[in-house]
Subunit: 107 residues, 2 copies
């Protein structure tokens, strides 16, 4: 089986919390992402937290990782304005202090 993912659009978001140690806030964000995952154009998703790896090049300060695989940029663009996404932002944006997004397509 070919292990290479191709013809996809990877949208990977890392969230930092205002209250970094608040389990309540992290749970709220995770619950929001679970609801957000119902957007139809999402092919695959993963809700993560930092692993216990620790080298100089590893960023470990974020609280939640949100990995989403789309078929293409158009699907990602429609996700940005999907009512489910807008509701997620409305309900959850008060818990995060910083967001970094990496959007990647095939080389």
């Amino acid at each position: 089986m070919d292990k290479e993912l191709k013809n996809i659009f990877i949208h990977h978001v890392y969230f930092w919390l205002k209250n970094a140690d608040s389990k309540t806030d992290r749970d709220k964000l995770v619950d929001g992402l679970k609801k957000l995952s119902s957007v139809k154009t999402i092919q695959n998703f993963h809700i993560g937290k930092p692993a216990d790896t620790n080298r100089e090049v590893i960023e470990t300060g974020y609280a939640v990782s949100w990995f989403v695989q789309f078929a293409n940029g158009a699907d990602q663009a429609s996700y940005q304005t999907d009512p489910i996404h807008l509701k997620f932002i409305e309900e959850c944006s008060h818990v995060w202090s910083k967001v970094i997004v990496y959007d990647s397509v095939d080389v």
Copy 2:
């Protein structure tokens, strides 16, 4: 079909090139990653470049995205010391100026 990826270890690396506009150096890195993908514990991988999205929260300065899915942290740890990985670093590390790694596991 459930779209949620679970029980996985995501290792996502972003590379910045010393010579940001060098197609030769980017190709060298991409070729190196293709060889690196033969490490047996890799379940899935994607070699990417920044999409053409452009909002304030989006990081677009990197040259190459290297997404790897492992079954668990032990497989990721063994990858770090795999001879194929060490050879990749030996052959390619001179082309990059910065690397950021995000290792994520299920929340």
